[in-house]
């Protein structure tokens, strides 16, 4: 079977259609709703595997669809994927059915709405990865917020409303700045189009680039989240239901990094080069800071949330390094983080389902009570620590090797994060799994159910597979990254040749210049 035409549109449409169907179903038919949603998302996953099969490891956009949409503004329905997005797409379609399966029994209230929002969320996420038109990108970018907002706000825990609103406002604040930057770019680039591939060919004045890049960077940095824009994350993660946390950590955070790669870097090469040290610096702060704060969290979900800050710091360091090795490693690390942290959230969720608490101090000695859970939990933690042989190591290693030549100090500091990752995760493992069972409530906790195995085992298997067979993934990623960096370097070099007088003008000059 080969990929049908318009497969990307199909992938986008299926979840929405499913959501519509489910929205029309009766309230009583919870089970049918769950089955339908799971079947549908699984189907979407299988369909996305066709993308993998048909994907050719070249730099160009593939499966491109291009239809005029609002021609007056140069807006088009343009979809396509390349090495940067391919695996993130698959990650999305992979985690969504798992998320549904993982919350099979933990979501009992308003099942219908839950499934509808999950499906809409999937479309939103896929749309972000598919979009090759800035307008389209923004639409999906923001549209994704709403289902996530509801997921956190309705099915979350105690402080869910605060967390949901914080998440929404934070992300939206970044997003709208990006929107303005889109508009300015549209005006300044002079092609009167939102088509990414056309805009990339234009040369924006370096001074303007700085501002636009900054606006993009804020939006993406909030999403990543980079220090110090990260404080929404622990709250959102802690309060979100399991599936929400998984998707949030697994996919949503990646969009920040992806945004840098897909939009900010190719559009603003000069600014990219200029900002790279700063991004690297913030990334390193994030790595260390996230790890240290993670170390002392009493709440497992919060711990994992801060660990995400640390891990995503590695991704950003790789991106800031601007070498093929590092950026490829960075993309790979995004996938790894999606797998490992997703699995961690699942497992914390399983504990929560059993005990209705996430406090580390409530547990202890689970290794005796839940041997399988403990073994898999440990494996996932090791993968998250980036023990070689697991997926995380390949990503981190590529990032560090690739960052060494361009961001040496940052690389050296980042390696401290490697140590700290072991510290915070193993300390948690020790307090949760080891020791005597001190809390009588933990005496009779059941081990993993078959459904839970079905959720966790694919993730564990993938973590191992990705740890030993990375070229299967990176071969697709690398050409796109190489082309991207080549473009960045080329254009930045061109700008070096032309007089840099206006590029070094003080920031205030842009505002003055934009006035007619």
């Amino acid at each position: 079977m080969s990929a049908p035409d318009h497969i990307l549109s199909l992938l986008l449409a299926l979840p929405v259609l499913g959501a519509l169907v489910i929205a029309c179903m009766r309230r009583g038919s919870e089970r049918a709703i769950k089955v339908l949603a799971l079947a549908l998302t699984t189907g979407v996953f299988l369909l996305s595997l066709l993308l993998v099969r048909e994907f050719r490891p070249i730099a160009a956009m593939q499966f491109v669809e291009h239809h005029a949409w609002i021609p007056a503004y140069g807006i088009s329905w343009k979809l396509g994927i390349d090495g940067l997005s391919l695996w993130l797409v698959v990650l999305t379609t992979f985690l969504t059915p798992l998320g549904l399966l993982g919350s099979w029994s933990s979501i009992e209230d308003r099942v219908k709405e839950f499934n509808v929002f999950m499906l809409l969320l999937e479309t939103g996420m896929l749309g972000v990865f598919f979009a090759l038109d800035l307008f389209l990108f923004y639409i999906f970018w923001e549209a994704m917020l709403i289902p996530m907002y509801f997921l956190i706000g309705i099915w979350g825990h105690d402080r869910r409303i605060y967390a949901a609103i914080k998440f929404f406002l934070y992300t939206m604040a970044g997003g709208v700045l990006m929107l303005v930057a889109f508009l300015v770019l549209y005006v300044k680039a002079g092609v009167r189009s939102f088509d990414l591939e056309r805009l990339v060919e234009t040369n924006v004045d370096p001074a303007v680039q700085m501002w636009l890049f900054a606006a993009f960077a804020v939006a993406f940095a909030i999403k990543v989240p980079m220090w110090p824009f990260h404080t929404w994350l622990p709250d959102a993660h802690v309060e979100a239901p399991t599936a929400g946390s998984v998707i949030l950590a697994g996919v949503l955070l990646k969009m920040g990094c992806y945004g840098f790669l897909r939009l900010a870097m190719p559009l603003f090469p000069d600014a990219t080069v200029a900002f790279a040290p700063w991004i690297a610096a913030l990334a390193v702060v994030g790595i260390l800071y996230g790890a240290l704060v993670s170390l002392v969290q009493p709440d497992m979900k919060k711990l994992v949330a801060y660990s995400s800050v640390s891990h995503l710091g590695f991704c950003m360091l790789g991106i800031a390094a601007l070498t093929t090795t590092a950026v490829t490693g960075s993309v790979y690390q995004m996938l790894n983080h999606g797998i490992s942290t997703g699995a961690l959230f699942f497992m914390v969720g399983m504990l929560y389902d059993r005990r209705h608490t996430r406090l580390i101090s409530e547990f202890g000695g689970l290794k005796r009570v839940m041997p399988w859970f403990s073994a898999l939990f440990l494996v996932i933690c090791l993968s998250s620590i980036a023990v070689p042989g697991f997926n995380g190591f390949v990503g981190e290693f590529l990032i560090l090797v690739g960052s060494w030549p361009t961001q040496r100090t940052a690389t050296i500091l980042a390696s401290v994060g490697v140590v700290l990752a072991a510290a915070y995760l193993l300390w948690m493992v020790q307090r949760v799994l080891y020791g005597e069972v001190t809390n009588p409530k933990n005496e009779s906790l059941p081990d993993l159910t078959p459904r839970e195995f079905a959720v966790i085992l694919p993730l564990v298997a993938l973590a191992l597979y990705m740890g030993v067979a990375s070229p299967a993934f990176t071969r697709g990623i690398e050409p796109s990254v190489a082309t991207l960096l080549q473009r960045v370097r080329l254009k930045a070099a061109q700008a070096q040749v032309t007089p840099r007088a206006e590029a070094s003008a003080p920031p205030g000059s842009v505002a003055a210049e934009t006035r007619p």
Binding site: K166, Y170, P228, H230, T231, Y289, L292, V293, L295, V296, Q297, T324, T325, T328, G329, G365, K367, R368, L382, V387, P388, G389, F393, V394, E396, F397, L398, L400, V401, G402, S403, W404, P405, T411, I412, S415, V416, V418, V419, A422, A423, L426, W427, Q430, L433, Y434, G435, E436, V468, A469, S470, P471, T474, R475, I477, E478, A482
Partner: protein, 648 residues
């Protein structure tokens, strides 16, 4: 597939290392998946037997490889890369950066392989008895198998990242096995500590690899070694890079091989089952650092600073650990510090350029230290788990086999003639003399004295005198089963033999050693080192056997010094303090509570509150009085008109 089969048939050497490597992994996998099925009842030992036989099979194959390697003419430089089996796929590949799944089997790897599978096999056998009654012995044996796999990978890995996989993997197994009795908090603490401290070194190793790739363009160990040849003739500009590379690598080695200042995890690691201590924390894993340094010997030779650091860190560690060992009362901790000390010797050897001798000592040490650990395990087994030497005594008659093998071990480590330790350790000291590193020689010599002393102290406190434990305990003392004694006897016998193997000569091509010109052998040398050992033993005999009250008097007299030693020079306290006070409390108190919650989130929420406050304040302008509204309109109009008229 057929081509693969052809390859196997035509040149088994290409495949054998892979089989050796994967056998333990197979064992692990089987035990993991079907372990519960194998362990049919409480007494069943199927898991252990499976694990043991897998390792022994690997040993058999390793011997085959070793023999095949011996058949190669040692001078044949091309034969260095005796086999570099390649699995046919890349592990990591991004552009020009790639890491292959390739192994390197050269003399160095072969020797280490023998040690790991041989001594490892014996320890597996020993474990059959030692762990016979443990509930979780299936996972224990699976971990041991996994460890063997990673250790072999570490040894055979053809490039640094692959070595690093093994490197971290053995660390992981060490973590699992140290914390094997996880219900004891001290055990899980020790496991965690081992992993984290190792991680510090690993960070150095990762950076070293990152640097190596960017500086030398390859991570393949063979290519790096070849590259070193060319580097020697390149401008000195590279020297700084090489030194940095060596130091980063050595940082990793310090972590794994418990050298200053990362030695603190090893004594704590004794929380694990004793066979684990013997295998991982004495015979094999901890020597990985030495192996790594030896592996990169051609690079180290280019860096004077690197060599100096290695030698002095090794020397000082050897002395420091030996002094601490003087005051330890836990039988295993004495051995642990002894291990640290011996590892220091090995680095000392490498640091003065005698890499072959260093590895030789690794080789012999594996035997005698495994012997000592297993012996101590037998003692502990006999004592029903008691490890405090102050509660032992007079055991020589009760567990004679253990006693006599232990005597051999002690004599070996003390460096008495005809035993393995004499050949390897004294060769190190000899090298220090002939290479004119006299300070290091004296350091080593003094350490040798201390070694003989504290090992004899251990021996005498345990086996001589009268039993100091309770009556019940005395009643329970019993000799260990044959599965445990067998390996002891084998290892003791080996101590008489392995010292005569010319391991360092065999290794020379792998280490790219300069042509082994015959070292001058000062004839006074044996007359210095043997008496030193004898003096140490006799001193201990006098203090602990003849005048048994003397030790307490000496202890009282040297109380301040003893305190320092008992405090282990304060390393643990300082590190714990740093970790709990600075890192944990700093993270919780400053970063989390203040920076994150108060500052950043405070700023965010504060902005919200300010907006809210402004909003509430602005609300009060809306007084509800309609003329107020009109006034605002008027004011607005005036302002607007004012702007339009006067602002041009």
């Amino acid at each position: 597939m057929s081509s693969l089969l052809d390859v196997i048939v035509q040149s088994p050497a290409l495949v054998l290392p892979w089989i050796i490597l994967l056998l333990p992994l197979l064992g692990f996998t089987v035990l993991c998946l079907f372990g519960e099925a194998i362990k049919r009842d409480k007494e069943d030992n199927g898991a252990g037997i499976l694990a043991t036989s897998v390792v022994l099979a690997a040993f058999g194959l390793a011997v085959w490889v070793f023999v095949a390697l011996l058949a190669q003419p040692p001078a044949d430089r091309e034969g260095l890369r005796f086999v570099q089996p390649y699995l046919g796929f890349e592990w990591i590949e991004v552009g020009s950066f790639h890491v292959s799944m390739s192994l390197l089997v050269d003399p160095l790897a072969a020797v280490m392989m023998l040690v790991v599978t041989g001594v490892g096999g014996l320890i597996h056998v020993y474990s059959l008895g030692y762990m016979a009654h443990d509930e979780e012995r299936v996972s224990y044996f699976s971990y041991l198998n996994l460890f063997t796999f990673f250790m072999l990978l570490l040894i055979l890995g053809g490039n640094l990242p692959l070595i690093f996989v093994g490197w971290e993997g053995v660390g992981l197994c060490s973590y699992l096995l140290i914390g094997f009795w996880h219900r004891k908090k001290s055990a899980s603490d020790a496991g965690k500590k081992a992993f984290i401290v190792n991680r510090v070194g690993d960070a150095g190793l990762i950076l070293g690899m990152a640097m190596a790739w960017n500086a030398f363009g390859t991570l393949d160990t063979f290519e790096l070694a070849e590259h070193a040849k060319n580097l020697a003739y390149e401008p000195i500009a590279q020297a700084g890079v090489v030194t940095a590379f060596c130091l980063l690598l050595f940082l990793g080695a310090c972590g794994k091989s418990a050298q200053l200042p990362l030695h603190v995890w090893l004594p704590d690691a004794m929380e694990g089952p004793t066979p684990v201590s013997a295998l991982i924390h004495a015979a094999t894993m901890v020597t990985a650092g030495v192996y790594m340094v030896a592996r990169m010997a051609p690079m180290f030779r280019l860096s004077e600073g690197g060599m100096l650091a290695v030698a002095w860190v090794g020397g000082v560690t050897a002395l420091m650990a030996a002094t601490i060992a003087l005051v330890q009362t836990d039988i295993k901790r004495v051995l642990a510090y002894s291990t640290v000390s011996q590892l220091g010797y090995m680095f000392l050897a490498c640091g003065i350029g005698a890499f072959g001798v260093g590895v030789f000592h690794v080789f012999t040490h594996a035997f005698f230290k495994a012997l000592l650990f297993l012996g101590s395990g037998s003692v502990i087994h006999a004592m029903s788990g008691e490890q405090d030497m102050r509660k032992m005594g007079g055991l020589r008659t009760k567990i004679p086999v253990t006693f006599w093998t232990f005597v051999v071990g002690t004599a070996t480590i003390a460096g008495l003639p005809w035993l393995a330790g004499y050949y390897s350790k004294d060769e190190i000291l000899l090298n220090a003399v002939v290479r004119e590193r006299l300070p290091l020689f004296y350091l080593g010599l003094f350490t040798a004295l201390l070694t003989a002393f504290y090992m004899s102290r251990l021996l005498f406190m345990t086996f001589f005198g009268t039993f100091r434990g309770g009556h019940d305990a005395e009643h329970h003392v019993h000799e260990s089963p044959w599965t445990m004694l067998g390996p002891l006897v084998v290892l003791a016998a080996a101590c008489f033999y392995v010292g005569r193997l010319h391991v360092n000569e065999f290794l020379a091509p792998a280490l790219r050693s300069p042509d082994p010109a015959e070292l001058p052998h000062p004839h006074w040398f044996p007359w210095v080192v043997i008496p030193v050992a004898v003096v140490g033993i006799l001193g201990a005999f006098l203090i602990y056997v003849v005048y048994s009250g003397l030790s307490a008097r000496i202890y009282a007299a040297l109380r301040p010094l003893a305190r320092v030693l008992e405090e282990k020079y304060g390393f643990d306290r300082a590190y714990d303090g740093f970790a709990s006070r600075v890192v944990v409390e700093g993270s919780a108190g400053v970063l989390w509570k203040q920076v994150d919650a108060a500052l950043i989130d405070g700023a965010v929420n504060g902005a919200g509150r300010v907006v809210d406050g402004v909003s509430r304040a602005a609300r009060t302008l809306q007084t509800g009085f309609v003329r107020g509204y009109a006034l605002v309109i008027l004011g607005g109009a005036v302002a607007l008109l004012g702007y339009l008229v006067w602002m041009r």
